[in-house]
Symmetry: C2
Subunit: 488 residues, 2 copies
């Protein structure tokens, strides 16, 4: 929260495109998890390794900006982006249920809990919850041995699904016809906080059931003050950091850079699409330099690096957009300024002092929100739409180029190839080589190139793999893809 | 089940309109509950009282048929029908949550269940579940004193809401675009059994949590063979039945008759509407005579009387309807026969021997289905649509006569009057006078007559209170209500 607030304020003040909202995103979370597992398996201090990744990051961004490297993005087509987006959604959904299963294992459904808890004294039958702490080496260890409680597992699933369904219902409610528009949109926009609040109320009123709560530090301090301070020693905190690893950190640095580059580039394209009629242009190279440099410096303090957050940035831009009145409203202008971004960043910082409220939130209600985010983010992805077309009769296919200008079987084949790639990425993610995920993702680029002209004609590929934002780095930016696609 | 099967077979063989499906319906359930409470409070044998109600029923139906009494139905307009329909839905929904609260009281959410169950020996702190049996007087008494179990209450709510949401989702799935039409409709039509089956599977796999199961007799026998046999003594089973009550039973008989008359009449109208192009006409008086006489005789055996079941009959008629091919399918004909009705009735009887499967059904899954039925049956009621219009901005109001030809405030006033009537009926239902419910319902008929010409003009009333089936007993049956309604 400290990192998001401070970096957000700096970015809003000096960035070339202050409409962007920066934050910690799903892909970065996957990377941090993978890098953490890797460090743990190699007995290396993760928090120190991050500094070296950060230093390499700064070096990489300077080189890329020096050679005006953003042209590289044109190789990353929708084909690759969509596989990645669905992977992120799947990870969100998977993690939710994974955590729920852990709760069921810690608090099983039995008739007599005393029998279970008596065996706490017996070292061969200990039951432990996921309450864990960092030990002196900075590694997570199981510390507290907790009792198994009745009703905990089922209340957790109720809070999770309750939170999910309420947030989901309010999202649909927003697009419905009930209540005047302003109140309806307000309820819809605050659907997630409303859902969390209701779950807090339920959890608070059920006093005799144990549920795990959100752990928040009191005031500004690091997550675990016993183990580290605000400044991380790049030579190692508790043991010397291996020299070879300082160089080897350039590999994960390339991976993080790919993630930040990809997400920030796509976000900039979507936010500054021509329909929005923005007056101020974007400065992609400057913003990338700023973002990655701030991230590199952040790693010295042991706080996360950030990227431009797609959903938050688009929501920000939409909120600032003024529509013309009339039956067919068009975008009139966008109120371009730096104030709103600064206010958002300050409010993120202020929430640090809301610990008395935040610590009342049951963790499982947040799992419900993760599930909500995973499922709702699927709906905007064309590959997901095409996956649903696999089980949709042809007469209901949409009037989109990918469905009308390409033979149905060819479209299904394209979807199937993406599904195979997704499956492979999932296997990599679940394996010991999860750190290699960005590399495997990049392999989909030559695959797409290989398929163009062999399995799919270039025109078919243009329809199936058309850019969403319609702002491409192609030679003919003015040509509408739809007009070029042949009828089947 | 014996009653439904035998009466169903007889009705299908000799009824004038064998497309009707007869069964035990919501309004009859409300009556039986009210009559049971009344008998209990007066210390009268309920099962014997039903015989006298049955005898009076036969007398009433003979009189009504002799004077061709079905003209009476024209007084019962949509205004009254809708209030009654919503009341039934509300009762369904209320009962579901009421039963859930009972489970939470019997199995509270506490940390230590042994503490609770130790007090079973202490008469001042007994915890009892709703496992109850009929005593020698035929009254329900709390019999078994059961332990409070962990996880039971929360698993019950999970099974109930799980069953509700799956059935609800599959209902929507049926109207969606996924999977080929035949498979989609099949899944949609069997949504309720699929939902129940899934809940059985979940409940079966959670071995160490107690849930109450459906109680089904093994083979053909009465519900409680200890207390009564197949033949009820009209003079009293365990004590003499009071003479004055034999005469007084004509009052509840009138109430039951109103219910059966109302529901059967409406069902016949809907099933035999002209669009369906049925060749064989209906014989309302004959069917009513048959139905009520069978019901009266059934009461001697202590089994329920039945009425024509609206939803089941319409589903039956629709299943037999042959549509013409083409872009605008129209009804071609209805396969009118007696076989399908007989098969349905025989299968109801056959399910008596499915006790090994039925006894696996957790009761709370059925509560979920009651909730589903309560909520889904709301959607077909115009009064419910108008209640939603109370919170819908005017621009989204539908292009229906009641919304376009009447001033919005007048429409809302009409809805408000109905809501007040509904509230009054609810108060009566919850009070000690719940048996008087049909009488209070009938009072809405003079209220509607009073409002016509005073608060609402006759034309406004025609738009607001238009008959759904468009087969009315009015003088000008050919006139479309819509054409007559004035623009506001």
């Amino acid at each position: 929260m400290v990192s998001t607030s401070i970096q957000g304020i700096i970015f809003s003040i000096i960035a070339a495109q202050p409409i962007l909202v920066i934050g910690f995103s799903g892909p970065l979370l996957v990377f941090e998890e993978a890098f953490y597992s890797f460090c743990k398996s190699q007995d290396i201090e993760y928090i120190v390794g991050r500094i070296w990744v950060g230093m390499w990051l700064i070096l990489i961004v300077i080189i890329i900006v020096a050679v005006e490297g953003s042209f590289l993005v044109k190789f990353i087509s929708r084909f690759t982006q969509e596989i990645f987006s669905i992977l992120i959604s799947l990870i969100f959904i998977y993690e939710t249920f994974n955590k729920l299963i852990k709760i069921f294992k810690a608090h099983p459904l039995v008739l007599n809990y005393d029998h279970l808890n008596i065996s706490l004294d017996n070292p061969f039958h200990i039951l432990v919850t996921e309450h864990s702490v960092l030990d002196h080496h900075g590694n997570l260890t199981i510390h507290e041995i907790e009792r198994a409680y009745p009703n905990t597992a089922l209340l957790s699933i109720c809070l999770m699904l309750g939170c999910f369904f309420i947030a989901y219902f309010l999202r649909h409610f927003k697009n419905g016809h009930y209540l005047p528009g302003l109140i309806r949109r307000l309820i819809g926009d605050f659907g997630v906080p409303i859902a969390i609040f209701l779950m807090i109320a339920i959890d608070f009123n059920i006093k005799d059931v144990y549920t795990q709560k959100l752990v928040v530090p009191k005031g500004i301090k690091v997550t675990n003050p016993k183990v580290r301070g605000w400044f991380i020693n790049p030579m190692g905190e508790n043991k010397p950091f291996p020299i070879w690893m300082m160089g080897a950190c350039c590999v994960p640095a390339v991976l993080v850079f790919i993630l930040i580059f990809l997400e920030s580039q796509i976000t900039t394209l979507i936010v500054s699409k021509p329909e929005r009629k923005m007056v101020k242009g974007s400065g992609f190279h400057f913003d990338l330099l700023l973002l990655v440099t701030m991230g590199g410096i952040a790693s010295i303090f042991g706080v996360p690096w950030l990227s431009a957050a797609t959903v938050r940035s688009v929501t920000h831009a939409n909120a600032l957009t003024v529509m013309s009145k009339g039956p067919k409203p068009e975008i009139e202008k966008v109120i371009e300024q730096r104030i709103s971004g600064i206010i958002v960043a300050i409010m993120v910082g202020a929430s640090i002092f809301m610990e008395p409220i935040l610590k009342m939130i049951p963790m499982t209600a947040l799992f419900g929100i993760f599930l909500y985010m995973g499922i709702t983010s699927l709906s905007g992805i064309q590959m997901w739409d095409r996956m649903l077309l696999l089980i949709t009769p042809k007469k209901y296919h949409p009037a989109e180029a990918y469905a009308t200008r390409v033979k149905t079987m060819k479209m299904h084949l394209f979807t199937a190839v993406q599904l195979v790639c997704l499956g492979l990425l999932w296997v990599v993610k679940m394996s010991a080589f999860s750190l290699a995920l960005p590399f495997v993702l990049i392999l989909t680029i030559p695959l797409r190139m290989f398929m163009t002209g062999t399995i799919f004609t270039p025109l078919e590929m243009k329809c199936l793999d058309a850019d969403d934002a319609k702002v491409t780095f192609e030679e003919e930016p003015g040509v509408d893809v739809y007009d070029e696609c042949p009828l089947p």
